[in-house]
Subunit: 315 residues, 2 copies
Protein backbone atom coordinates (compact mmCIF):
# COMPACT_ATOMS: atom_id res chain seq x y z
CA UNK A 1 0.00 0.00 0.00
CA UNK A 2 1.40 3.37 -0.87
CA UNK A 3 0.43 6.98 -0.30
CA UNK A 4 -2.12 8.16 -2.89
CA UNK A 5 -3.33 11.47 -4.28
CA UNK A 6 -6.45 11.50 -2.12
CA UNK A 7 -4.27 11.28 1.02
CA UNK A 8 -2.73 14.62 0.06
CA UNK A 9 -6.15 16.16 -0.58
CA UNK A 10 -7.31 14.93 2.82
CA UNK A 11 -4.17 16.29 4.45
CA UNK A 12 -4.80 19.71 2.93
CA UNK A 13 -8.31 19.77 4.38
CA UNK A 14 -6.89 18.81 7.78
CA UNK A 15 -4.03 21.32 7.96
CA UNK A 16 -5.03 24.28 5.83
CA UNK A 17 -6.29 26.51 8.65
CA UNK A 18 -3.20 25.76 10.77
CA UNK A 19 -0.39 26.26 8.25
CA UNK A 20 0.46 29.30 6.13
CA UNK A 21 -0.33 29.21 2.45
CA UNK A 22 3.17 30.43 1.65
CA UNK A 23 3.77 32.86 -1.23
CA UNK A 24 4.69 31.54 -4.67
CA UNK A 25 7.02 34.26 -5.94
CA UNK A 26 7.83 34.84 -9.61
CA UNK A 27 10.91 37.08 -9.55
CA UNK A 28 11.42 39.15 -12.68
CA UNK A 29 15.19 38.78 -12.36
CA UNK A 30 14.91 34.99 -12.88
CA UNK A 31 12.34 35.31 -15.64
CA UNK A 32 14.64 37.71 -17.51
CA UNK A 33 17.64 35.46 -17.06
CA UNK A 34 16.01 32.19 -18.13
CA UNK A 35 13.33 33.40 -20.50
CA UNK A 36 10.52 31.52 -18.75
CA UNK A 37 8.44 32.04 -15.61
CA UNK A 38 10.36 30.70 -12.61
CA UNK A 39 8.22 30.17 -9.52
CA UNK A 40 9.66 29.92 -6.01
CA UNK A 41 7.54 28.25 -3.34
CA UNK A 42 8.70 30.00 -0.17
CA UNK A 43 8.45 27.41 2.57
CA UNK A 44 11.12 29.34 4.46
CA UNK A 45 8.15 31.59 5.32
CA UNK A 46 6.18 28.60 6.70
CA UNK A 47 5.59 28.29 10.46
CA UNK A 48 8.84 27.02 12.11
CA UNK A 49 10.77 28.32 9.09
CA UNK A 50 10.40 25.16 6.99
CA UNK A 51 7.91 22.94 5.16
CA UNK A 52 8.34 20.20 7.76
CA UNK A 53 5.53 21.70 9.84
CA UNK A 54 3.00 20.57 7.21
CA UNK A 55 3.73 16.87 7.52
CA UNK A 56 4.16 17.04 11.27
CA UNK A 57 0.84 18.78 11.80
CA UNK A 58 -0.95 16.39 9.47
CA UNK A 59 0.51 13.36 11.26
CA UNK A 60 0.07 14.59 14.82
CA UNK A 61 -3.45 15.90 14.31
CA UNK A 62 -4.57 12.31 13.79
CA UNK A 63 -3.44 11.25 17.28
CA UNK A 64 -5.33 11.52 20.54
CA UNK A 65 -4.60 14.59 22.62
CA UNK A 66 -1.78 14.07 25.08
CA UNK A 67 0.07 11.56 22.93
CA UNK A 68 3.76 10.92 23.64
CA UNK A 69 5.81 11.57 20.51
CA UNK A 70 9.43 10.70 19.78
CA UNK A 71 11.24 12.00 16.72
CA UNK A 72 14.76 11.96 15.37
CA UNK A 73 15.88 14.96 13.36
CA UNK A 74 18.78 17.26 12.62
CA UNK A 75 16.49 20.24 12.78
CA UNK A 76 13.50 21.08 10.66
CA UNK A 77 11.45 17.94 11.31
CA UNK A 78 12.28 18.50 14.98
CA UNK A 79 10.84 22.00 14.93
CA UNK A 80 7.81 20.93 12.92
CA UNK A 81 6.99 18.11 15.33
CA UNK A 82 7.65 20.31 18.37
CA UNK A 83 5.30 23.10 17.27
CA UNK A 84 2.59 20.71 16.06
CA UNK A 85 2.78 18.84 19.38
CA UNK A 86 2.54 22.11 21.29
CA UNK A 87 -0.49 23.24 19.28
CA UNK A 88 -2.24 19.89 19.59
CA UNK A 89 -1.47 19.22 23.25
CA UNK A 90 0.94 16.31 22.72
CA UNK A 91 4.25 15.73 24.44
CA UNK A 92 7.31 15.61 22.17
CA UNK A 93 10.81 14.30 22.85
CA UNK A 94 13.28 14.91 20.05
CA UNK A 95 16.65 13.30 19.49
CA UNK A 96 18.96 15.73 17.69
CA UNK A 97 22.64 15.44 16.70
CA UNK A 98 24.78 17.66 18.91
CA UNK A 99 26.24 19.36 15.80
CA UNK A 100 22.83 20.49 14.47
CA UNK A 101 22.58 24.26 13.93
CA UNK A 102 22.13 25.94 17.32
CA UNK A 103 19.10 27.82 15.98
CA UNK A 104 17.32 24.57 15.19
CA UNK A 105 18.02 23.08 18.63
CA UNK A 106 17.00 26.28 20.42
CA UNK A 107 13.80 26.68 18.42
CA UNK A 108 12.81 23.06 19.05
CA UNK A 109 13.18 23.67 22.79
CA UNK A 110 11.33 26.99 22.35
CA UNK A 111 8.33 25.10 20.97
CA UNK A 112 8.17 23.16 24.22
CA UNK A 113 9.79 19.88 23.17
CA UNK A 114 12.32 18.00 25.26
CA UNK A 115 15.55 17.82 23.23
CA UNK A 116 18.09 15.05 23.78
CA UNK A 117 21.32 15.43 21.82
CA UNK A 118 23.50 12.59 20.60
CA UNK A 119 26.93 12.32 19.03
CA UNK A 120 26.71 11.51 15.31
CA UNK A 121 30.07 9.74 15.31
CA UNK A 122 29.79 7.60 18.42
CA UNK A 123 26.10 7.06 19.22
CA UNK A 124 23.66 4.77 17.40
CA UNK A 125 20.69 7.07 17.03
CA UNK A 126 18.29 4.29 16.10
CA UNK A 127 19.10 2.43 19.31
CA UNK A 128 18.63 5.62 21.32
CA UNK A 129 15.30 6.31 19.62
CA UNK A 130 14.02 2.78 20.16
CA UNK A 131 14.96 3.00 23.84
CA UNK A 132 13.10 6.28 24.25
CA UNK A 133 10.03 4.98 22.46
CA UNK A 134 9.92 1.99 24.80
CA UNK A 135 10.53 4.01 27.98
CA UNK A 136 7.82 6.53 27.17
CA UNK A 137 5.44 4.16 25.43
CA UNK A 138 5.62 6.75 22.67
CA UNK A 139 4.76 6.98 18.99
CA UNK A 140 7.80 7.35 16.76
CA UNK A 141 7.22 9.86 13.97
CA UNK A 142 9.62 9.16 11.13
CA UNK A 143 10.74 12.22 9.16
CA UNK A 144 9.77 10.77 5.78
CA UNK A 145 8.84 7.08 5.71
CA UNK A 146 5.36 7.81 7.05
CA UNK A 147 1.97 8.14 5.34
CA UNK A 148 0.89 11.22 7.27
CA UNK A 149 4.21 12.99 6.80
CA UNK A 150 4.36 12.38 3.05
CA UNK A 151 0.74 13.44 2.55
CA UNK A 152 1.31 16.62 4.56
CA UNK A 153 4.39 17.64 2.57
CA UNK A 154 2.48 16.89 -0.63
CA UNK A 155 0.10 19.79 0.09
CA UNK A 156 2.88 22.04 -1.20
CA UNK A 157 2.24 20.61 -4.66
CA UNK A 158 -1.49 21.34 -4.52
CA UNK A 159 -0.79 24.93 -3.50
CA UNK A 160 1.81 25.46 -6.21
CA UNK A 161 -0.54 24.30 -8.95
CA UNK A 162 -3.36 26.55 -7.73
CA UNK A 163 -1.05 29.54 -7.30
CA UNK A 164 0.92 29.22 -10.54
CA UNK A 165 -2.28 28.84 -12.55
CA UNK A 166 -0.34 27.68 -15.62
CA UNK A 167 1.14 24.35 -16.75
CA UNK A 168 4.59 23.71 -15.32
CA UNK A 169 7.28 22.06 -17.38
CA UNK A 170 9.39 21.05 -14.40
CA UNK A 171 9.23 20.99 -10.62
CA UNK A 172 12.50 20.93 -8.63
CA UNK A 173 12.34 19.51 -5.09
CA UNK A 174 15.06 19.57 -2.41
CA UNK A 175 15.45 15.89 -1.61
CA UNK A 176 16.74 14.00 1.42
CA UNK A 177 14.66 10.92 2.24
CA UNK A 178 12.14 11.84 -0.42
CA UNK A 179 9.04 12.57 1.64
CA UNK A 180 8.40 16.02 0.22
CA UNK A 181 9.54 15.02 -3.25
CA UNK A 182 7.24 12.00 -3.25
CA UNK A 183 4.26 13.87 -1.84
CA UNK A 184 4.61 16.69 -4.34
CA UNK A 185 5.16 14.25 -7.21
CA UNK A 186 1.85 12.57 -6.40
CA UNK A 187 -0.03 15.82 -6.86
CA UNK A 188 1.44 16.21 -10.36
CA UNK A 189 0.69 12.64 -11.44
CA UNK A 190 -1.92 13.67 -14.01
CA UNK A 191 0.16 16.49 -15.53
CA UNK A 192 3.11 16.63 -17.92
CA UNK A 193 5.33 18.21 -15.28
CA UNK A 194 8.71 16.49 -14.82
CA UNK A 195 9.58 16.08 -11.12
CA UNK A 196 13.26 16.33 -10.18
CA UNK A 197 14.88 15.38 -6.89
CA UNK A 198 17.75 17.79 -6.17
CA UNK A 199 20.51 16.44 -3.93
CA UNK A 200 23.90 17.61 -2.59
CA UNK A 201 27.11 16.16 -4.03
CA UNK A 202 28.03 13.05 -2.07
CA UNK A 203 24.43 12.56 -0.92
CA UNK A 204 22.91 11.71 -4.28
CA UNK A 205 21.45 8.37 -3.27
CA UNK A 206 18.11 8.93 -4.99
CA UNK A 207 19.70 10.15 -8.21
CA UNK A 208 21.77 6.98 -8.35
CA UNK A 209 18.91 4.79 -7.15
CA UNK A 210 16.62 6.03 -9.92
CA UNK A 211 19.29 5.21 -12.51
CA UNK A 212 19.99 1.80 -10.99
CA UNK A 213 16.36 0.90 -10.42
CA UNK A 214 17.07 -0.11 -6.83
CA UNK A 215 17.66 1.68 -3.54
CA UNK A 216 21.29 2.71 -3.10
CA UNK A 217 22.79 4.35 -0.04
CA UNK A 218 25.14 7.26 0.54
CA UNK A 219 28.57 6.36 1.82
CA UNK A 220 28.95 9.39 4.06
CA UNK A 221 26.76 10.80 6.83
CA UNK A 222 28.37 14.23 7.03
CA UNK A 223 30.25 16.51 4.69
CA UNK A 224 27.79 18.87 2.98
CA UNK A 225 26.61 22.26 4.22
CA UNK A 226 23.10 21.04 3.38
CA UNK A 227 22.51 19.78 6.91
CA UNK A 228 18.91 18.84 6.17
CA UNK A 229 19.70 16.67 3.15
CA UNK A 230 21.97 14.01 4.63
CA UNK A 231 19.59 11.02 4.85
CA UNK A 232 21.23 7.76 3.89
CA UNK A 233 18.64 6.57 1.38
CA UNK A 234 15.00 6.41 0.43
CA UNK A 235 12.84 3.98 2.41
CA UNK A 236 9.96 1.81 1.16
CA UNK A 237 7.21 4.45 1.09
CA UNK A 238 9.30 7.16 -0.55
CA UNK A 239 11.07 4.77 -2.93
CA UNK A 240 7.70 3.54 -4.16
CA UNK A 241 6.68 7.11 -5.02
CA UNK A 242 10.06 8.08 -6.47
CA UNK A 243 10.16 5.07 -8.79
CA UNK A 244 6.72 5.87 -10.13
CA UNK A 245 6.63 9.64 -10.24
CA UNK A 246 10.11 11.18 -10.13
CA UNK A 247 11.71 11.89 -13.51
CA UNK A 248 15.31 12.07 -12.31
CA UNK A 249 17.87 13.53 -9.97
CA UNK A 250 20.03 16.65 -10.07
CA UNK A 251 23.26 16.82 -8.08
CA UNK A 252 24.59 20.15 -6.79
CA UNK A 253 27.93 21.03 -5.14
CA UNK A 254 28.06 23.08 -1.93
CA UNK A 255 29.74 26.04 -3.65
CA UNK A 256 26.70 26.45 -5.91
CA UNK A 257 24.45 26.33 -2.85
CA UNK A 258 26.42 29.13 -1.20
CA UNK A 259 26.20 31.21 -4.37
CA UNK A 260 22.44 30.68 -4.44
CA UNK A 261 22.15 31.83 -0.82
CA UNK A 262 24.08 35.00 -1.71
CA UNK A 263 21.83 35.55 -4.73
CA UNK A 264 18.73 35.12 -2.57
CA UNK A 265 20.08 37.66 -0.08
CA UNK A 266 21.07 40.20 -2.71
CA UNK A 267 18.33 39.84 -5.27
CA UNK A 268 15.35 38.16 -3.62
CA UNK A 269 15.65 39.52 -0.05
CA UNK A 270 15.04 36.04 1.31
CA UNK A 271 16.94 34.17 4.01
CA UNK A 272 17.39 30.61 2.80
CA UNK A 273 19.25 27.84 4.64
CA UNK A 274 21.73 25.73 2.65
CA UNK A 275 19.39 22.77 2.12
CA UNK A 276 16.62 25.17 1.11
CA UNK A 277 18.72 26.85 -1.56
CA UNK A 278 19.74 23.72 -3.45
CA UNK A 279 17.04 23.90 -6.16
CA UNK A 280 17.76 27.57 -6.80
CA UNK A 281 21.44 26.58 -6.95
CA UNK A 282 20.70 23.96 -9.61
CA UNK A 283 19.24 26.70 -11.78
CA UNK A 284 21.69 29.52 -11.14
CA UNK A 285 24.75 27.30 -11.58
CA UNK A 286 23.51 26.09 -14.95
CA UNK A 287 23.35 22.46 -13.79
CA UNK A 288 19.66 22.50 -14.70
CA UNK A 289 18.46 24.63 -17.61
CA UNK A 290 14.74 25.44 -17.67
CA UNK A 291 13.01 24.70 -20.95
CA UNK A 292 9.68 26.30 -20.01
CA UNK A 293 7.77 27.44 -16.88
CA UNK A 294 9.51 25.92 -13.87
CA UNK A 295 8.75 25.82 -10.15
CA UNK A 296 11.17 25.12 -7.37
CA UNK A 297 11.03 24.67 -3.63
CA UNK A 298 12.70 26.97 -1.11
CA UNK A 299 12.33 24.48 1.70
CA UNK A 300 13.51 26.42 4.73
CA UNK A 301 15.32 29.37 6.24
CA UNK A 302 16.75 28.08 9.50
CA UNK A 303 20.39 29.05 9.31
CA UNK A 304 22.63 30.36 12.08
CA UNK A 305 23.62 34.02 11.82
CA UNK A 306 27.34 33.21 11.87
CA UNK A 307 27.11 30.84 8.92
CA UNK A 308 24.80 33.14 6.97
CA UNK A 309 27.03 36.16 7.58
CA UNK A 310 30.07 34.24 6.36
CA UNK A 311 28.31 33.01 3.25
CA UNK A 312 26.88 36.35 2.16
CA UNK A 313 29.89 38.43 3.02
CA UNK A 314 33.18 36.68 3.65
CA UNK A 315 33.12 33.91 1.09
CA UNK B 1 -5.18 70.85 -5.35
CA UNK B 2 -4.08 67.71 -3.58
CA UNK B 3 -3.81 64.04 -4.40
CA UNK B 4 -7.18 62.28 -3.95
CA UNK B 5 -8.38 58.72 -3.44
CA UNK B 6 -9.35 58.29 -7.09
CA UNK B 7 -5.75 59.07 -8.13
CA UNK B 8 -4.62 56.00 -6.22
CA UNK B 9 -7.32 53.84 -7.78
CA UNK B 10 -6.25 55.07 -11.22
CA UNK B 11 -2.61 54.38 -10.39
CA UNK B 12 -3.45 50.83 -9.39
CA UNK B 13 -5.16 50.24 -12.73
CA UNK B 14 -2.09 51.64 -14.51
CA UNK B 15 0.61 49.69 -12.67
CA UNK B 16 -0.98 46.45 -11.49
CA UNK B 17 0.26 44.24 -14.30
CA UNK B 18 3.80 45.66 -14.03
CA UNK B 19 4.39 45.48 -10.26
CA UNK B 20 4.23 42.52 -7.90
CA UNK B 21 1.27 42.22 -5.59
CA UNK B 22 3.60 41.59 -2.66
CA UNK B 23 2.66 39.12 0.09
CA UNK B 24 0.93 40.35 3.23
CA UNK B 25 2.35 38.02 5.87
CA UNK B 26 0.73 37.36 9.23
CA UNK B 27 3.47 35.70 11.29
CA UNK B 28 2.24 33.55 14.17
CA UNK B 29 5.20 34.62 16.29
CA UNK B 30 3.98 38.24 16.26
CA UNK B 31 0.35 37.31 16.78
CA UNK B 32 1.31 35.23 19.83
CA UNK B 33 3.46 38.00 21.23
CA UNK B 34 0.98 40.86 20.82
CA UNK B 35 -2.34 39.05 21.02
CA UNK B 36 -3.65 40.51 17.75
CA UNK B 37 -3.12 39.83 14.05
CA UNK B 38 0.00 41.68 12.88
CA UNK B 39 0.26 42.02 9.11
CA UNK B 40 3.54 42.74 7.32
CA UNK B 41 3.35 44.18 3.81
CA UNK B 42 6.54 42.87 2.22
CA UNK B 43 7.65 45.55 -0.22
CA UNK B 44 11.19 44.23 0.14
CA UNK B 45 9.90 41.57 -2.25
CA UNK B 46 8.77 44.24 -4.76
CA UNK B 47 10.65 44.70 -8.04
CA UNK B 48 13.91 46.62 -7.33
CA UNK B 49 13.67 45.48 -3.67
CA UNK B 50 11.52 48.38 -2.52
CA UNK B 51 8.07 50.01 -2.82
CA UNK B 52 9.58 52.94 -4.75
CA UNK B 53 9.06 51.13 -8.02
CA UNK B 54 5.29 51.60 -7.68
CA UNK B 55 5.38 55.39 -7.68
CA UNK B 56 8.12 55.54 -10.29
CA UNK B 57 6.27 53.29 -12.70
CA UNK B 58 3.02 55.18 -12.21
CA UNK B 59 4.73 58.52 -12.82
CA UNK B 60 6.88 57.47 -15.77
CA UNK B 61 4.12 55.52 -17.53
CA UNK B 62 2.34 58.83 -18.08
CA UNK B 63 5.22 60.29 -20.10
CA UNK B 64 5.88 59.90 -23.80
CA UNK B 65 8.30 57.14 -24.73
CA UNK B 66 11.90 58.29 -24.87
CA UNK B 67 11.48 60.97 -22.22
CA UNK B 68 14.59 62.29 -20.45
CA UNK B 69 14.25 61.80 -16.69
CA UNK B 70 16.36 63.23 -13.89
CA UNK B 71 16.01 62.08 -10.30
CA UNK B 72 17.81 62.66 -7.03
CA UNK B 73 17.91 59.78 -4.57
CA UNK B 74 20.02 57.96 -2.01
CA UNK B 75 18.90 54.67 -3.42
CA UNK B 76 15.46 53.15 -3.61
CA UNK B 77 13.79 55.92 -5.62
CA UNK B 78 16.85 55.76 -7.89
CA UNK B 79 16.34 52.06 -8.55
CA UNK B 80 12.60 52.45 -8.99
CA UNK B 81 13.02 55.24 -11.54
CA UNK B 82 15.82 53.39 -13.33
CA UNK B 83 13.86 50.17 -13.80
CA UNK B 84 10.63 51.96 -14.73
CA UNK B 85 12.55 54.05 -17.29
CA UNK B 86 14.16 50.92 -18.71
CA UNK B 87 10.81 49.14 -19.01
CA UNK B 88 9.09 52.15 -20.56
CA UNK B 89 11.88 53.18 -22.93
CA UNK B 90 12.83 56.43 -21.20
CA UNK B 91 16.32 57.71 -20.45
CA UNK B 92 17.17 58.19 -16.76
CA UNK B 93 19.98 60.13 -15.15
CA UNK B 94 20.17 59.78 -11.38
CA UNK B 95 22.08 61.91 -8.90
CA UNK B 96 23.10 59.84 -5.90
CA UNK B 97 25.19 60.69 -2.83
CA UNK B 98 28.59 59.01 -3.02
CA UNK B 99 28.01 57.41 0.42
CA UNK B 100 24.80 55.63 -0.65
CA UNK B 101 24.90 51.84 -0.15
CA UNK B 102 27.02 50.30 -2.92
CA UNK B 103 24.25 47.85 -3.72
CA UNK B 104 21.83 50.70 -4.44
CA UNK B 105 24.27 52.49 -6.74
CA UNK B 106 25.21 49.27 -8.58
CA UNK B 107 21.60 48.20 -9.03
CA UNK B 108 20.63 51.60 -10.37
CA UNK B 109 23.38 51.32 -12.98
CA UNK B 110 22.30 47.73 -13.60
CA UNK B 111 18.84 48.97 -14.58
CA UNK B 112 20.46 51.05 -17.30
CA UNK B 113 20.42 54.49 -15.68
CA UNK B 114 23.31 56.93 -15.81
CA UNK B 115 24.41 57.54 -12.22
CA UNK B 116 26.19 60.74 -11.19
CA UNK B 117 27.44 60.81 -7.62
CA UNK B 118 27.82 63.90 -5.47
CA UNK B 119 29.35 64.66 -2.10
CA UNK B 120 26.67 65.18 0.54
CA UNK B 121 28.88 67.51 2.57
CA UNK B 122 30.27 69.77 -0.13
CA UNK B 123 27.92 69.69 -3.12
CA UNK B 124 24.54 71.42 -3.40
CA UNK B 125 22.48 68.61 -4.87
CA UNK B 126 19.58 70.86 -5.84
CA UNK B 127 21.90 73.04 -7.91
CA UNK B 128 23.39 69.94 -9.55
CA UNK B 129 19.91 68.57 -10.31
CA UNK B 130 18.67 71.86 -11.76
CA UNK B 131 21.75 72.05 -13.98
CA UNK B 132 21.18 68.52 -15.27
CA UNK B 133 17.50 69.14 -15.93
CA UNK B 134 18.40 72.22 -17.97
CA UNK B 135 21.22 70.54 -19.91
CA UNK B 136 19.10 67.53 -20.84
CA UNK B 137 15.81 69.35 -21.16
CA UNK B 138 14.64 66.65 -18.78
CA UNK B 139 11.70 66.05 -16.48
CA UNK B 140 12.64 66.06 -12.81
CA UNK B 141 10.87 63.31 -10.87
CA UNK B 142 10.74 64.25 -7.21
CA UNK B 143 10.88 61.30 -4.79
CA UNK B 144 7.75 62.33 -2.89
CA UNK B 145 6.37 65.80 -3.66
CA UNK B 146 4.73 64.56 -6.85
CA UNK B 147 1.16 63.53 -7.67
CA UNK B 148 2.10 60.43 -9.65
CA UNK B 149 4.60 59.24 -7.07
CA UNK B 150 2.22 59.63 -4.13
CA UNK B 151 -0.64 57.93 -5.97
CA UNK B 152 1.65 55.03 -6.96
CA UNK B 153 2.86 54.43 -3.41
CA UNK B 154 -0.73 54.62 -2.20
CA UNK B 155 -1.56 51.43 -4.09
CA UNK B 156 0.10 49.60 -1.19
CA UNK B 157 -2.83 50.68 0.97
CA UNK B 158 -5.42 49.32 -1.46
CA UNK B 159 -3.62 45.97 -1.58
CA UNK B 160 -3.29 45.73 2.20
CA UNK B 161 -7.00 46.29 2.74
CA UNK B 162 -7.94 43.66 0.15
CA UNK B 163 -5.40 41.14 1.47
CA UNK B 164 -6.05 41.60 5.20
CA UNK B 165 -9.81 41.30 4.69
CA UNK B 166 -10.49 42.58 8.20
CA UNK B 167 -10.69 46.03 9.79
CA UNK B 168 -7.30 47.36 10.86
CA UNK B 169 -6.88 49.31 14.04
CA UNK B 170 -3.57 50.87 13.03
CA UNK B 171 -1.30 51.16 10.02
CA UNK B 172 2.41 51.91 10.57
CA UNK B 173 4.31 53.48 7.66
CA UNK B 174 8.05 54.09 7.32
CA UNK B 175 8.22 57.82 6.72
CA UNK B 176 10.78 60.10 5.10
CA UNK B 177 9.20 62.82 2.95
CA UNK B 178 5.76 61.30 3.47
CA UNK B 179 4.87 60.18 -0.06
CA UNK B 180 4.09 56.59 0.84
CA UNK B 181 2.57 57.54 4.17
CA UNK B 182 0.31 60.11 2.53
CA UNK B 183 -0.70 57.85 -0.33
CA UNK B 184 -1.53 54.96 1.98
CA UNK B 185 -3.37 57.27 4.38
CA UNK B 186 -5.64 58.40 1.54
CA UNK B 187 -6.77 54.85 0.90
CA UNK B 188 -7.82 54.50 4.56
CA UNK B 189 -9.72 57.80 4.69
CA UNK B 190 -13.13 56.16 5.08
CA UNK B 191 -12.02 53.66 7.74
CA UNK B 192 -11.31 53.90 11.48
CA UNK B 193 -7.68 52.89 10.95
CA UNK B 194 -5.16 55.20 12.63
CA UNK B 195 -2.22 55.98 10.33
CA UNK B 196 1.17 56.46 11.96
CA UNK B 197 4.34 57.89 10.39
CA UNK B 198 7.36 56.07 11.82
CA UNK B 199 10.64 58.03 11.76
CA UNK B 200 14.23 57.56 12.97
CA UNK B 201 15.47 59.45 16.02
CA UNK B 202 16.89 62.78 14.90
CA UNK B 203 14.81 62.71 11.70
CA UNK B 204 11.38 63.05 13.28
CA UNK B 205 10.33 66.15 11.36
CA UNK B 206 6.82 64.91 10.58
CA UNK B 207 6.19 63.76 14.14
CA UNK B 208 7.10 67.24 15.36
CA UNK B 209 5.32 68.97 12.48
CA UNK B 210 2.06 67.19 13.25
CA UNK B 211 2.28 68.28 16.88
CA UNK B 212 3.16 71.85 15.96
CA UNK B 213 0.63 72.14 13.16
CA UNK B 214 3.27 73.48 10.79
CA UNK B 215 6.12 72.06 8.74
CA UNK B 216 9.32 71.72 10.80
CA UNK B 217 12.68 70.55 9.48
CA UNK B 218 15.34 68.14 10.70
CA UNK B 219 18.58 69.72 11.83
CA UNK B 220 20.81 66.95 10.54
CA UNK B 221 21.17 65.35 7.12
CA UNK B 222 23.14 62.27 8.21
CA UNK B 223 23.47 60.20 11.36
CA UNK B 224 20.94 57.36 11.24
CA UNK B 225 21.43 53.90 9.75
CA UNK B 226 18.04 54.42 8.08
CA UNK B 227 19.61 55.80 4.90
CA UNK B 228 16.26 56.03 3.13
CA UNK B 229 14.56 58.12 5.81
CA UNK B 230 16.73 61.22 5.96
CA UNK B 231 14.58 63.76 4.09
CA UNK B 232 14.62 67.16 5.67
CA UNK B 233 10.87 67.74 5.87
CA UNK B 234 7.48 67.19 4.28
CA UNK B 235 6.70 69.32 1.24
CA UNK B 236 3.37 70.88 0.21
CA UNK B 237 1.71 67.80 -1.32
CA UNK B 238 2.73 65.40 1.45
CA UNK B 239 2.12 67.90 4.25
CA UNK B 240 -1.43 68.45 2.98
CA UNK B 241 -2.11 64.70 3.23
CA UNK B 242 -0.32 64.23 6.55
CA UNK B 243 -2.24 67.08 8.20
CA UNK B 244 -5.55 65.61 7.12
CA UNK B 245 -5.03 61.87 7.36
CA UNK B 246 -2.08 60.96 9.59
CA UNK B 247 -2.88 60.33 13.25
CA UNK B 248 0.62 60.86 14.63
CA UNK B 249 4.31 60.05 14.55
CA UNK B 250 6.40 57.35 16.21
CA UNK B 251 10.14 57.87 16.74
CA UNK B 252 12.53 54.91 16.80
CA UNK B 253 16.25 54.74 17.72
CA UNK B 254 18.76 52.95 15.45
CA UNK B 255 19.43 50.22 18.03
CA UNK B 256 15.79 49.13 17.86
CA UNK B 257 16.02 49.07 14.06
CA UNK B 258 19.04 46.74 14.22
CA UNK B 259 17.23 44.47 16.66
CA UNK B 260 14.26 44.32 14.29
CA UNK B 261 16.55 43.38 11.39
CA UNK B 262 17.99 40.55 13.50
CA UNK B 263 14.48 39.42 14.43
CA UNK B 264 13.46 39.44 10.77
CA UNK B 265 16.49 37.34 9.87
CA UNK B 266 16.00 34.83 12.69
CA UNK B 267 12.25 34.56 12.89
CA UNK B 268 10.78 35.79 9.61
CA UNK B 269 13.52 34.73 7.13
CA UNK B 270 13.30 38.14 5.49
CA UNK B 271 16.12 40.48 4.50
CA UNK B 272 15.07 43.98 5.50
CA UNK B 273 17.13 47.12 5.09
CA UNK B 274 17.37 49.50 8.06
CA UNK B 275 14.76 51.99 6.79
CA UNK B 276 12.46 49.10 5.96
CA UNK B 277 12.62 47.62 9.46
CA UNK B 278 11.63 50.76 11.36
CA UNK B 279 7.92 49.92 11.75
CA UNK B 280 8.69 46.42 12.94
CA UNK B 281 11.20 48.02 15.32
CA UNK B 282 8.50 50.31 16.73
CA UNK B 283 6.48 47.21 17.65
CA UNK B 284 9.23 44.91 18.89
CA UNK B 285 10.87 47.59 21.03
CA UNK B 286 7.58 48.36 22.75
CA UNK B 287 7.56 51.97 21.53
CA UNK B 288 4.22 51.23 19.88
CA UNK B 289 1.83 48.73 21.51
CA UNK B 290 -0.85 47.29 19.23
CA UNK B 291 -4.38 47.50 20.59
CA UNK B 292 -5.99 45.40 17.86
CA UNK B 293 -5.23 44.16 14.32
CA UNK B 294 -2.28 46.15 13.01
CA UNK B 295 -0.52 46.35 9.66
CA UNK B 296 2.97 47.63 9.02
CA UNK B 297 5.15 48.28 6.03
CA UNK B 298 8.41 46.47 5.30
CA UNK B 299 9.48 49.04 2.74
CA UNK B 300 12.64 47.53 1.28
CA UNK B 301 15.48 45.05 1.48
CA UNK B 302 18.39 46.78 -0.21
CA UNK B 303 21.20 46.46 2.30
CA UNK B 304 24.87 45.73 1.69
CA UNK B 305 26.07 42.30 2.75
CA UNK B 306 28.77 43.74 5.01
CA UNK B 307 26.30 45.85 6.99
CA UNK B 308 23.74 43.05 7.16
CA UNK B 309 26.32 40.51 8.31
CA UNK B 310 27.49 42.87 11.05
CA UNK B 311 23.98 43.57 12.26
CA UNK B 312 22.80 39.96 12.41
CA UNK B 313 25.98 38.50 13.78
CA UNK B 314 28.54 40.82 15.27
CA UNK B 315 26.39 43.35 17.05
Amino acid sequence: MSVVYQDVVNAQERIKSHIFETPLLRPDILEKRFGFPIFLKCENLQKTGSFKFRGAYNRLSQLEKGAEIVALSSGNHAQGVALAAQMLGHKATILMPSDAPAMKINNTRGFGAEVITYNRATDDRDVLAAKLVKEKNAIFVHPFNDYGIIAGQGTIGLEIQAQAAMPLDAMLCCCSGGGMTGGIALTFQDTNTRIYAVEPEGFDDLTRSLKAGEVLKNEKTTGSICDGLLSQSALPLTWELAKKHVFGGIVVPDEAVKAAMRFAFNELKLVIEPSGAICLAALLSGIYTPTSATALIISGGNVDAKQFAEIIYNS
